[in-house]
Subunit: 386 residues, 2 copies
């Protein structure tokens, strides 16, 4: 196990009808900027629940955060926040809204051009407090200091990660997820699953507790996913998936272990260029990363196959191969295609993304072995179609 | 899964030679009360490492905290703290030192009689900041807001649990545990093991992630324990046990689940009256709780047997019985006896403890079914001897 620091000060408030806790979690004197997305919270009752709980607070609304939250939209929120002198940001929605709020919180306290913060995270020196009412289990943003922001104008997607950006609190009410469309439910499961594997499928390391904590999340998702796909009103499955998704990216399972994240970095390019849902990019890219890096990852892939997929009798190579196949089948079982062709993305994407990542001089994966050119090779394994 | 709040703001700093982080973790202007136990830190180099790292801080020392920290000793520390105007408490040692420091931190900011805080935790309204250098993995005190304090004069042992008492930081340097005597090593493993089972062996609940997170800790302890018992200098095993013990009582595995703690409550009486090591009381009491509450716990015991002890083919009753036997064998493998007779405690302890707990009107266990009289019945199952 490598040396590590673990710090995660977010308060999680979990359970049905916990939104009422907001009135105590946000001090009365705060001026709240309530940020949300496309308006689904107005249809499922969350919007009304938040406003009635905050009836005695001053609340200013900012709606319209996109999936893959857009830089320009966040800047508009910062402008409104400053105009209204808001000093607390309440995210109501999924990971995109949360990510946007973290970036808004940092940008509101930064005097330069806000994009700088995404180019150089260390420029963040202050941030407004953020709280959240989570309505979509997927990104783990509710219990971590990470934000991913897109900028359509220059076709870029960048991360801001800073300890000042942990939400002060996150309310996780699984009943708010009952009305999620199947596509978002499936995406959320894949997102949480891949967050876990990015921190787990690297090489064999001496961190047996962290391995088993990762396996706990994967096994829970594999077990609960078919229940919620069969019955979207299954509150038990919704609850277990919600808590698993939070645990997948709160930093605990990566304590003292190597991490990969190549699948995410390459996937971000597919979203930036072809607007594919984040989770679907992961389902496309991941099998390619595992196949291309098979020699480096085969022992851990086999360990994963034995522990998670029940491939007990198999030898290392066969188990590692089975791990890739079983994972892809799992994504298919959620209705998610795993090739570029499945999502109508042209084979030209391979060269295009290789060039873009090459220009940025990336060295992705736990060993830094994945350059832009290698990313192109990985994507070529995922072209699919006839 | 029941509703829950999860909040754990302690920063963990883990790894060899991390004690140097102290100089940055404690602001320079703080006056530090450095609290330790019987002086083992002077033999293993930790004392020198702390003082040289804090060379530019004002440090006042208070040594002599007992295992099962004594109320009167803590009061003496409060007196010294006030006389020296200290405003930061640094615990250097194991869980007893940490627990003492939390109590000192609360007592220093309480105007009444400090024992009140142990009788009524809600009286805690303020506390000094506490940081820790942990040298003994066992209690989990390094990442939770709990303290257990003893008072020999009235033969009592009480808990103080309050969110103001989370350590600000805990430095976990596994090399500091290499010189631990075998008895303390074994005790620490049993303590962490029973912390986990107190939150896990209750009834079957719909919390599959939390179950697997608990199993992750138990499996890690079972796997690592023989390594460290065979080779006390095994830094890998020391590291994995240290991190497992912290995870056993940082609140994560009990999110939304019932908890038992009867073994601890009855065990505290054995320590208060007969001065038996805390962990050894747990090893004595626990099999009795499980046997006495077999009907209520059998399904979860069987689940534990299947998941943790590999009793796959067995039916529910046989697996549940095997779980009790295997757990007891595990304690024996660490050189720890599991009956009163093994520790020369007379059978009269059963009636004596039944009466004491009866006077306090306790209702222990996840169902509150264990009264003083029931505790006596449980202890009678553990008399042992010929």
């Amino acid at each position: 196990m490598d040396p590590f620091d673990y710090y995660c000060p977010t308060r999680v408030v979990f359970g049905p009808d916990r939104i009422v806790a907001l009135s105590e979690l946000i001090p009365r004197e705060r001026r709240v900027l309530m940020v949300y997305g496309g308006g689904s919270i107005k249809r499922n009752g969350v919007y009304d629940a938040v406003l009635s709980t905050l009836a005695r607070h001053t609340v200013v609304e900012f709606g319209g955060i996109q999936p893959n939250p857009e830089y320009e939209t966040c800047l508009a929120a910062v402008e409104q926040l400053r105009a209204e002198s808001c000093d607390f940001i309440l995210a109501v929605g999924g990971g995109s809204v949360l990510d946007a709020c973290k970036f808004i919180a940092a940008a509101a306290r930064y005097d330069g051009t806000a994009w700088d913060l995404l180019e150089d995270n260390s420029l963040t020196a202050d941030a407004l407090p953020v709280g959240a009412v989570l309505t979509l289990p997927a990104t783990g943003s509710e219990m971590n200091p990470n934000a991913v922001i897109s900028r359509a104008e220059i076709e870029q997607k960048r991360a801001l990660i800073h300890p000042l950006l942990y939400p002060q609190f996150s309310i996780l009410d699984p009943t708010t997820t009952l009305s999620l469309p199947e596509r978002q439910t499936a995406n959320g499961i894949v997102d949480a699953f891949v967050h876990t594997t990015e921190q787990y499928i690297t090489r064999m390391v001496d961190a047996p507790l962290q391995d088993r904590q990762a396996e706990a999340i994967l096994l829970t998702l594999i077990e609960q996913a078919p229940k919620v796909m069969a019955d979207p009103s299954d509150l038990s499955a919704r609850s277990n998936i919600m808590w698993a998704a939070t645990n997948a990216l709160n930093g605990l399972i990566s304590c003292g272990t190597p991490q990969d994240w190549a699948t995410h970095q390459i996937g971000h390019e597919l979203t930036a260029l072809y607007h594919l849902d984040h989770a679907r990019t992961l389902a496309v890219v991941q099998p390619g990363v595992w196949e291309h890096c098979f020699a480096a990852k085969r022992e851990k892939l086999a360990h994963y196959a034995w522990r998670v997929w029940g491939c007990d009798g198999m030898g290392t190579d066969a188990a590692a191969r089975a791990a890739i196949a079983r994972t892809e089948e799992f994504y298919h079982s959620l209705g998610i295609g795993t090739t570029l062709a499945d999502h109508d993305i042209p084979a030209a994407a391979c060269d295009r993304i290789a060039a873009r990542l090459g220009e940025r001089g990336v060295a992705l994966g736990e060993d830094g072995a994945i350059t832009g050119a290698v990313a192109g090779e990985i994507l070529r394994l995922r072209i699919g179609g006839d």
